[in-house]
Symmetry: none
Subunit: 235 residues, 2 copies
DNA sequence: ATTTGTGTTAAGGTTAGGTTAAACAGGCGA
DNA sequence: TCGCCTGTTTAACCTAACCTTAACACAAAT
């Protein structure tokens, strides 16, 4: 199993710098969405759930602070990091007032940014108590959202999952490339381990296999008498 | 009622600087405990509950990083701010690794420190606070004014909403693109969760769907047995 | 060879949800 | 007081979603 990459919203008006930073962060296993200005940034923010926002302060039309305030209105908790060329004290103060989590002066060391992001995300993760519940997975070219109960293939179709389908696939994903014991699913999902629930589970395995057929690199294998194995082949 | 002053543990080996900073923070309504070295700092940390720790990095015997690690072992969440004279990248990285919440280079502006402290404490506090009252939403091409109970489509018609319609749409908007659990609406709006209130809610969902029909990019989806999801598609 | 386990499809039953319309309730003006 | 308006609930009917069970075929283990 692989956890879904953390989503970053990067709002930066300088296209060159924006692309470079985006690529750098992507290389470091972040899922980066780049917006070219404050307007676009806010639109993108509303349409998705981000783990961190990185905002350039100086942008035409809508500066980083204004954007930050709008973002804060929609989401009180999402961490915000400002980038600025200025090292003016007023700006720094304004930034913290706007709800910044951190502050970086350009030019900054990309490794430092990485560290800050990691620190912020880690802090956030440990802040939420019920974080043991994991509900987003990347399985081959599929994306499983176990909270909203859907499976998406390559930004194409969205497949709605029934509660049982969803739970079963989630359990398989949690044990990706490893044995997911029959008994585990039966006790966790069906709360009973008998002939009929076991057959019911097989029916659901068949359903999941049908969904997963559209990606050759993903497969549910049976381990006779033991359970199932969700296999994801490398490309 | 007045909130109790926030407690700060300040660990700083330079006595002059330490006293000055302590007084400055005290004047700004913090309850500051000053320790002259890492050893003393850790002892004091164990004996009390602090809201923030401010640690000098360069101290004899036990440096700030080592102290931070010890503190983190005892308390995973307490925010830590480092002070350092050095501006070395290695130090900054080391700081974030040690679980820093923020980082300040000496000499720093005391007002900036104050801002950072406020930001850190506020963030921590608002993490536990309930959702703020929000009354205006943009949902696709609609504009919802929840205070005046109307819904407007593209500067065209103004649709008046009944109290229940309004509250329900507001709840959905607050959870845009995310699950709005059935139970949440029933307890928040209907104050009772039974068969009939649940059916009533379905009737209201139908009404809202009728309103939202004029914009193809907006849709209320059902998640069987869980609740509803207000989805706004990209253009 | 026989038993036990799995793959798969389809039928059946149950519950949740979509929708419309009628019933009900309270406020308000005639 | 009566009727009307508005908002809300209840009822009714229908479809969709979900899950189990049955049935039959095949595979694996013994």
């Amino acid at each position: 199993m692989e956890t879904v990459e953390k989503k970053i919203l990067l709002v930066e008006d300088d296209p060159n710098f924006g692309i470079v930073l985006k690529d750098y962060l992507s290389m470091n296993d972040f899922d980066v969405t780049l917006a070219k200005n404050g307007m676009e940034g806010f639109e993108k923010f509303k349409k998705d759930n981000f783990d961190v926002c990185i905002l350039d302060v100086m942008m035409p039309y809508k500066d980083g602070f204004t954007l930050a305030k709008e973002i804060r209105e929609k989401n009180e908790h999402v961490p915000i990091v400002f980038l600025t060329a200025k090292t003016m004290k007023e700006d720094v103060l304004k930034g913290y007032k706007a709800g910044a989590d951190d502050y970086l002066n350009k030019p900054f060391d990309s490794e430092v940014l990485l560290m800050k992001l990691k620190a912020i995300l880690q802090r956030k993760a440990s802040n939420s108590l019920a974080d043991s519940k994991q509900f987003e997975f990347k399985v081959g070219n599929f994306h499983l959202n176990s909270k909203l109960r859907f499976l998406k293939y390559k930004d194409e179709e969205t497949i709605k999952l029934s509660p049982k389908e969803n739970e079963l696939l989630r359990l398989l994903a949690l044990h990706e490339n490893d044995l997911m014991p029959r008994e585990l699913a039966l006790t966790k999902i069906w709360r009973d381990d008998n002939y009929f629930t076991s057959r019911s589970m097989d029916v659901y395995i068949a359903k999941l296999r049908k969904y997963l057929k559209r990606d050759d690199s993903v497969e549910i294998l049976n381990i006779h008498g033991e359970g199932f194995r969700l296999v994801v082949k490398d490309d």
